[in-house]
Amino acid sequence: MDLNYSAEEQAFRDEVRGWLRANLPQDLREKAESYQHLSKDDLMRWHRILAKKGWIVPAWPKEWGGTGWNVVQRYIFDEELGLAGAPPIIPFGVTMCAAVLLRFGTEAQKKRFLPRIANGDDFWCQGYSEPGSGSDLASLKTKAVRQGDRYVVNGQKIWTTLAHYADWIFCLVRTDPTLEKRQEGISFLLMDMKTPGITVRPLYLMDGGHEVNEVFFDDVSVPAENLVHEEGKGWTVAKYLLGYERMNTGRIGESRRQLARLKEYAAPMMGDARWRDRLSRLEVELTALEITNLRFLDRMRRTGQPPGADVSMLKIKGTEIQQGLTELMMEATDPAASDELAQAIRKRYLSMRKTTIYAGSNEIQRNIIAKMTLGL
């Protein structure tokens, strides 16, 4: 048993850290420090810097631009990005859509979409949830009817993150409403957001921010070649994607940075034992999660097996810790203060309540562990 990184892993970390120090633009770093909103330009500028370095799509196969890093290196890379306060890499294209295309896409689809995702030419969003279909995703109703070599799509998606930035959307749609086993009537479809009939309406969350949207589809005509995998196999695709999503939800590096920031910002509070104990418990919980995460990675590296359902605990614990940190940070602001930073910190507290709801609510994650890991 040895909980330390190997010399090679440490050298890799140093390389990433050194490069980030030299290449993460100061204005982006400052925006993260002061909890300012990141524009699409900010996100894409950072995307292109990483792309130029060849680090934007580490997990992809080498032939498509991947780095060939193992799971531990990828974890270290993500952790360092978080620690440095780099803008997030928006996952809908590089992580999610790409994972699906690499696994289920045709050669033509891969050639058409993957390079543009890596270059940052296309911004993607994810069309999963609907007003009546949240946790019960398989009940979705957005309809795609085949007419010759096209599908005609009608319906509505909701909580579509950054749809207002997006060039493309990948969607789960119902292609056969008659089947008794409703999962079998679902298909996975790619749509150009400029297609006539697609309307995006903003949903402002309680922090006043515009991140999520409703997306309406009104007789949207989509070429049948944009179907991924077979018609009626969309649920298989969605399930495949789920495992992918959960492995990266611990956000250890980002939380470490927030913890350090909190200790600095809340220095005057550290004399209060009641407050300090709450902070210490969060730090301990974060350390435990970090080691748990490393244990999962070690297992994956040794067995070569994909992550099991128990990685859902990374999402549960990771988001609980993120919320705990933002809550303490909010409480650390002087109640009488109205300066820009204090206001941004309070907004962040409001915004972070979403984390235990999105990407499979924490209750759904518990269902997954109960069923898949514990056999209940």
Binding site: M270, D277, T287, D298, I369, G375, L376
Partner: protein, 349 residues
């Protein structure tokens, strides 16, 4: 980075686990507890397996084992709720060896000489420096409280103050007056009265005491993980087998989510036990060890309480092992400092 035991550690842990499964199941344990409170043959078997001298150097009949070598053993002991005072014995052995009094180690690795670690006193709680036992003219006077294993020990490692500074001594048990009792988790203990007891001083002082407490804390973390594993396993099994309203109660989401939270607590605790044990040798990383004890203290409380609640009335009875696990976990959560104590230490470091 690697979270596995090496081959030797795995073999040892497996053989201990196999032995306990065979000779220390809940019924056999009951007989030991209702009898003398320990078993000579079990103790002898532990010695036979090489456990008694595990942390001692080869010069003293041991294997030079560190905390990670002991970790798998402690986990297995936790799972089986072993009552024999093994940890007290090996901690005292480590103290004597580190204190340079190896002549006193005769018979220790063989288990024929049994040791206990007499430090805590009434009112000191978890402060290692607050003891009142004193040394005068090489003789100890004072009262140690709830010393695990003292009733069956041949020698005691005792802390006492000389000119206000903590020092460590070895005292023959025969020189002390004992008032034996059982701890809340059914272990043999005694209050130990020393009046001008002849004692041999060993080197080390407060620094060595701190080291021993850190090592003990890390090993208690491992023991607790074993006990929590049992609590989770038995609760999960109960949820699948117990039927109410015509269905297994494990089909109820309210209970499923609580079971999942126990499982997560266990995994988080296990991670921290790995951290504590891998940082407990030589110059222990006190901050990491306190962090581990905080998490394990919280997890022990969470898992023990939930395991009884989810077992319903049966969980309250002496008849089920889970209630005995509850008692052990409650004790382990406080041994070498409860979460509050370690929170204060963690923040100060």
């Amino acid at each position: 980075m690697n979270f596995d035991y090496n081959e030797q550690q795995q073999l040892l842990a497996d053989s201990v686990r196999r032995y306990l499964k065979d000779k220390y199941d809940f019924e056999q344990r009951k007989k030991i507890v209702s009898g003398e409170g320990w078993s000579r043959s079990v103790w002898a078997q532990f010695a036979e397996m090489g456990l008694m001298g595990l942390p001692l150097s080869t010069d003293h009949g041991g294997f030079g084992g560190g905390a990670v070598d002991l970790m798998g053993v402690m986990e297995a002991f936790g799972e089986a709720l072993v009552v024999e005072p093994y940890l007290a014995h090996v901690l005292a052995a480590r103290a004597i060896e580190r204190g340079g009094a190896s002549v006193l180690l005769e018979g220790v690795a063989e288990g024929s000489t049994r040791l206990a670690f007499a430090h805590a006193e009434k009112g000191t709680r978890y402060d290692p420096d607050a003891i009142k036992t004193v040394v005068r003219n090489g003789k100890l006077t004072g009262e140690k409280a709830s010393v695990i294993g003292a009733p069956i020990a041949d020698r005691l490692v005792v802390t006492a103050k000389a000119d206000g500074a903590v020092q460590l001594f070895v005292v023959e048990r025969a020189q002390a007056q004992l008032r034996p009792h059982r701890t809340m988790d059914e272990r043999l203990a005694a209050d130990v009265r020393l009046s001008e007891a002849p004692a041999q001083r060993i080197e080390g002082g407060l620094a060595l005491l701190g080291e021993l407490i850190d090592l003990g804390t890390a090993l208690v973390c491992a023991e607790a993980v074993g006990a929590m594993q049992y609590a989770c396993d038995s609760t999960l099994e109960y949820l699948k087998q117990r039927k109410q309203f015509g269905v297994p109660i494990g089909t109820f989401q309210a209970l499923q989510h609580r079971m999942v939270d126990m499982f997560i607590s266990l995994e988080q605790a296990r991670s921290m036990a790995c951290l504590a044990c891998s940082k407990a040798d030589g110059d222990p990383d006190a901050r990491a060890i306190s962090a581990a004890k905080i998490r394990i203290g919280d997890a022990a409380r969470h898992i023990s309480q939930e395991s009884v609640q989810l077992h319903g009335g049966m969980g309250m009875t002496e008849e089920l092992k889970v209630s005995h696990t509850f008692r052990r976990l409650t004790a382990l959560a406080r041994e070498f400092g409860d979460a509050d104590h370690h929170l204060a230490r963690f923040a100060a470091l």
